[in-house]
Structure formats: structure tokens, C-alpha cells
């Protein structure tokens, strides 16, 4: 390194004698412009460029080689999470090149990331005014409105983003999510399918597609959704989206289980629970807890509760069990330890019936 890359100078330190007399009123636009021009000229004379930002307290100067694109430097700041630091430079770049849609886009996104959504929307709208094909800027407007809680205003820019670039998977995914929120499931599904084509390995897209398929409904779509949920759980274990997929699968299994008995009580489950309660009485609370937790851990890897022929074994309890049987044992164990516990599956009716049967 043989040059200074950046420095800050408090306004109070700046030598006003370096400026024209008409530009010496601190804080005035003339002052800010004159300070910017001063540094730009000084560094230009030495074959460098200076990005200058002047606020009410401080002057910030970023220097870079004459042949480099200032936006590249600022992009590096943004990518490193130095968003607040990058904003004054982006503002400075907008002042010197107000027709640069890419700079306006980055400034808008930076404001959005900082939670200053009004500022973000102003810059992003200016960007799409200059370049209506800027899909990411349209998406940025939609996201900003959404984060402001103005969902009714978010849809149009999201649609514009897809119009501007139909091949952009993120635009499709965002619009799909927006339409899901508006319960326009068929349209959402179409956009999520396009998004998956563009982003075949994006967890959010796959999960969104599964959610849309579930929402539209029907056996085929439900099966396809379940396959997608399994993909998410397998490829991104431990992620938030995998947890959502796992919950969706549990819900589906529950619906499927109830559907088999027309929504009524399942005698097999009732018997499993009754038997488990007998076992727990014999083995005591510590062993009960061990058994229930082992099943819960197994459930994290996936238990098929709709296939009675699929059998599982436990370390803590001898025998071979179907998925439904294990879930019933786990439910009974959890409820035995804490009657108010949330187990993730509703076997309350069967549990009540089993308890009543045992009391007789």
C-alpha cells in the first residue's frame, strides 16, 4: 500500500480559506459542493479519484485509482456488510451521476437494509424510471413495501419485476410468496414452478413450491409437495426451512391418518397408547423419558406413519414397531411427563379414550 485509501475530516478542522468566499457557509449546498470539488481536483491532479461525502459534522473521503469504477469499491463495502458506511459514498455518486440506475438501485437496497424504507423506495423508483427493465430494482420496491407492511402496494412492483425479467428466479419466487399471502394459490404455484426452473437448488424456492402445491391441494399435488419437503429436509438439515418442511410433513401425516378413519377415533392408536401407558407404569418415569426422547429423535430423521409394514426398532424398548405405533408411544410418554406439552401431532382423542379405558 503506498496511498491512503480513506480518511475522515471533521468539518471543524477544514480550512475554509481553501474554498471560494461564496462557499464558506458550513452546511450550505455550496459548501458541500466546494469541498467535494476541492478533494476531487486535488486527487485528480495526482492521477486518482476521490469519492467525497459531506454531512453536517464530517467529510469522508475515499480514494481510488483513476481507472477504477467507484461502484466496485462501494459494492465491496456492501458485500462486507458495511452498509451504513457505504451510503454516503453512494449518495455522493448519485450526486455526480444522477442518471445511473445501478447506483440508485444499490443505494435503495442499502436504505432498505437499514430499515429506511421511504428513502429506499424513492431511490428504487428513480432507478426503474431510468431503466424500466431493472427487475431487481422492481423487486426491491416490492420488498420495501412489504417490509413497511404495505402489502397492497407490493404486488405491482413484484409483477413488474417478473415482466422485466421473466427468467429471474428470485423475482418469480418473491411474486409467488406475495401471491400466497393473498391466497391466490394457483397463480403462486405457476410462479414457483418457474422459479424452480431457474433456481433448482434454492431451498426457499423448493419450500415455496411445496407450500403452493399443498395450498392448491389434490392428491397429486400433495404427494409432489411431500417429495419436495423431503428434499428440503434432506439437503438442508437443521435449517429453518427444513423445520418448516418437517412441520408441513407432520401436518400432512396427521390429516392422512385422520382421513383413514373418516376423521374419527383410531382404535389402533388408542390401543398403542393404552399399552404404552401400561409399560410406562412398569418402567418408571426415567425410562419413560428415555423412550419418548429416542422416538422423538428418530422422528427427526422421518417416521412413516402411513405405512404399517414399515417397522422400526428402539434401543430403549425391545420389539419392532410401525411408525404410527412409535408416534403413539411417544405421545403417551410426553403426555405422561407433562400433560400440557405440545407434541406436534394431535392424538388427544385417542389418548383420552385410552385413559378412560384403563380407568374402567
Amino acid at each position: 500500500m503506498s496511498s491512503i485509501t480513506s480518511f475522515n475530516l471533521p468539518i471543524s478542522r477544514f480550512d475554509l480559506n481553501l474554498l471560494p468566499a461564496s462557499a464558506r457557509k458550513i452546511g450550505s449546498d455550496a459548501f458541500k459542493l466546494a469541498v467535494t470539488m476541492h478533494f476531487a481536483a486535488q486527487y485528480a491532479a495526482k492521477g486518482q479519484q476521490a469519492l467525497v461525502s459531506v454531512d453536517d459534522e464530517e467529510i469522508q473521503v475515499l480514494t481510488l485509482p483513476a481507472d477504477s469504477d467507484p461502484l466496485d469499491f462501494v459494492m465491496t463495502m456492501l458485500q462486507n456488510g458495511r452498509i451504513k458506511e457505504a451510503v454516503p459514498y453512494l449518495e455522493s455518486m448519485v450526486k455526480s451521476d444522477p442518471s445511473n440506475a445501478q447506483v440508485l438501485y444499490n443505494l435503495g437496497i442499502a436504505y432498505s437494509e437499514m430499515g429506511q424504507f421511504d428513502e429506499a423506495v424513492i431511490r428504487l423508483k428513480r432507478a426503474v424510471q431510468l431503466n424500466p427493465r431493472h427487475a431487481h430494482a422492481w423487486t426491491g420496491i416490492g420488498v420495501a413495501y412489504q417490509r413497511m407492511g404495505k402489502r397492497e402496494l407490493a404486488l405491482e412492483p413484484m409483477e413488474k419485476a417478473v415482466e422485466a425479467d421473466p427468467e429471474d428466479g428470485y423475482g418469480r419466487r418473491n411474486l409467488g410468496a406475495m401471491l400466497m399471502g393473498l391466497r391466490r394459490y394457483d397463480e403462486a404455484l405457476a410462479h414457483f414452478r418457474e422459479a424452480r426452473r431457474a433456481l433448482p437448488h434454492d431451498a426457499q424456492t423448493i419450500y415455496g413450491l411445496a407450500a403452493a402445491l399443498d395450498a392448491v391441494g389434490g392428491d397429486d399435488k400433495s404427494d409432489e409437495a411431500d417429495e419436495l419437503h423431503q428434499i428440503v429436509i434432506r439437503r438442508w438439515p437443521g435449517s429453518e426451512v427444513a423445520e418448516l418442511a418437517r412441520s408441513a410433513r407432520t401436518k400432512r401425516a396427521h390429516i392422512s391418518m385422520r382421513a383413514k378413519v373418516g376423521g374419527g377415533l383410531r382404535p389402533d392408536v388408542m390401543m398403542y397408547i393404552a399399552s404404552a401407558l401400561d409399560t410406562f407404569e412398569t418402567v418408571g418415569p426415567a425410562k419413560t423419558q428415555q423412550i419418548a426422547f429416542e422416538i422423538a429423535m428418530k422422528g427427526q430423521q422421518g417416521l412413516d406413519i402411513n405405512d404399517p409394514d414399515q417397522k422400526y426398532t428402539l434401543n430403549s424398548l425391545p420389539g419392532k414397531y410401525s411408525g404410527m405405533h412409535l408416534v403413539s408411544i411417544m405421545y403417551a410418554g410426553m403426555k405422561a411427563m407433562d400433560p400440557d406439552i405440545e407434541t406436534g401431532i394431535d392424538l388427544e382423542a385417542e389418548y383420552g379414550a385410552a385413559m378412560a379405558m384403563r380407568r374402567k
Binding site: M1, S3, R13
Partner: protein, 252 residues
């Protein structure tokens, strides 16, 4: 220390020949500076160069520190002096802080400590910058193989110095009249590197004319080590720091 360049080893050899004692390297992970050199005194067998491990090659820093020893020992024993900062130098800084800055009640509490800190910083600059610039010139001329490391080090030092323009504790900032020495060093760095941009921030801060005067003094005085004390004294007079320190005879 392993992996030093031949040029650096040559400089260390010169220190041994000149002082009759070699340099022992001591790794110190807690140091704030990258390297310091303690001259052997009171019968010690070695000079001690403490260094903080870093990714940067140490050669230039070692050479630079060795330069101070060589310059001290180039003087006749009767003409060797230690720089002794006044323990009350902070009192000279307080008026600079209170007359040039509008301070609130919250700023007066740390005023005394801040003044002491700034006094130490200014005295360190006074002692090390003008003589350090002589050493930099010497390295550039006699050891061009260290030039790449020298340029890197100068650049890093300039970045650290320019950051001081915005350094503050509450509303307390470093008084502009004490910035002259680092401004002069920036002008010198521009001369050494052909960058031409190091002094731009100091011009904007209104420090440049004082910095130019200091560099003029540096240019006008003879470069030999006999004049090092005079060089420091002349800078001190220009900076208004003459009473902030004394010279005491060097005791081996």
C-alpha cells in the same frame, strides 16, 4: 530471528560492530507497536528488539529500529543524549484543548488525562519523526533492496496518522498546532514514494504551512547524527514544545 534478508542482517552486524553488543529478539504478542528496540544499558549483554508477530515482513521495522541505535552511537560518547519528556507536559496541552475547542461539562472531566495522552503522543512524534525521516532516507539510499517493504510501511503509517485527524474523545480532539509533525512526515512520504497524495488531508486541515516549515528545517540542517538533537530542538521550537522535554546525558 530467522528469515531476515541479507541487507537487514548486514544492518544488525553494523549495530554489533558499532556498539559491541548484539541484538536479541523477543517475541511479544501484547505490544501495541510492531517493534521497539531497547538499547543495552547497565551492563546488559544485548540490545533487546521486541516485536509483535505479524504477516508483514519484519525486515524494514528491524532496520528502522537499528537505525536509531546506529545514529546514537555515531556521536561521540559525550554527545550522546537521551530524550526525557517532562512529566508535566500535559499542562501545556490543556490550554490548546480549551482555547481552540468548545467543550461541555462532560469533556472537562477527562481533559487532564486526554491532555497527558496527547502530550506523550506529540513528544513521541517529536523524538521519532524527524530522526526517523533521516533513517528512512538512509535506508532508501543504502538499502534499496528494502524499498518495497519501506513503501508498504510508510503507506500503513500514513493511514494510521491520517486517522488521527478525526480521532476524538467526546468533543476532545488533537489540537491542530500539534499536527504539524505528522503533516511534515506526510510531505516527506510524498517525496519518498512519489505518491503526492499523502499531504492532501493535512492541507485541508490547515496544517500544511507548518508542516512545510518543519520539512524546510529538516532539509536545511546537516544530515549527520551530530545534528539530531538540534533537529529535534528546532522542530520543538516551531511547534511550541521547547519546554516539554529535556536532553539528559546518555548512560550506557
Amino acid at each position: 530471528m530467522k528469515n531476515l534478508r541479507a541487507a537487514t542482517k548486514g544492518i544488525l552486524k553494523r549495530v554489533e560492530q558499532k556498539t559491541g553488543k548484539s541484538i536479541e529478539f523477543v517475541r511479544d504478542d501484547q505490544m501495541s507497536l510492531l517493534a521497539t528496540l531497547q538499547i543495552a544499558r547497565n551492563g546488559a549483554d544485548f540490545h533487546v528488539l521486541r516485536y509483535r508477530p505479524s504477516n508483514e515482513p519484519m525486515d524494514y521495522l528491524v532496520a528502522f529500529q537499528a537505525g536509531f541505535v546506529l545514529r546514537l552511537f555515531e556521536n561521540e560518547p559525550s554527545q550522546r543524549f537521551d530524550f526525557a519528556p517532562s512529566p508535566t507536559a500535559g499542562q501545556y496541552v490543556e490550554p490548546l484543548l480549551t482555547t481552540t475547542q468548545f467543550l461541555g461539562p462532560a469533556d472537562t472531566q477527562p481533559l487532564c488525562e486526554f491532555a497527558k495522552f496527547i502530550a506523550q503522543w506529540a513528544l513521541l512524534n517529536l523524538r521519532s519523526l524527524p530522526i526517523g525521516m533521516r533513517i528512512d532516507s538512509w535506508i532508501a539510499i543504502e538499502y534499496p533492496e528494502l524499498k518495497d517493504l519501506q513503501l508498504t510501511s510508510i503507506g500503513l503509517q500514513q493511514q494510521q496518522n491520517v486517522d488521527l485527524l478525526s480521532y476524538k474523545l467526546g468533543k476532545l480532539t488533537i489540537p491542530t498546532p500539534l499536527m504539524g509533525s505528522i503533516g511534515a512526515y506526510a510531505l516527506f512520504a510524498d517525496r519518498m514514494t512519489d505518491a503526492g497524495t499523502f499531504a492532501i488531508p493535512y492541507e485541508a486541515a490547515g496544517v500544511l504551512s507548518q508542516a512545510e516549515e518543519l520539512l524546510d528545517i529538516w532539509d536545511e540542517l546537516p544530515v549527520d547524527a551530530d545534528h539530531d538533537c538540534l533537529l529535534v530542538d528546532s522542530w520543538a521550537a516551531k511547534l511550541g514544545m521547547s519546554s516539554w522535554y529535556t536532553w539528559i546525558p546518555y548512560r550506557p
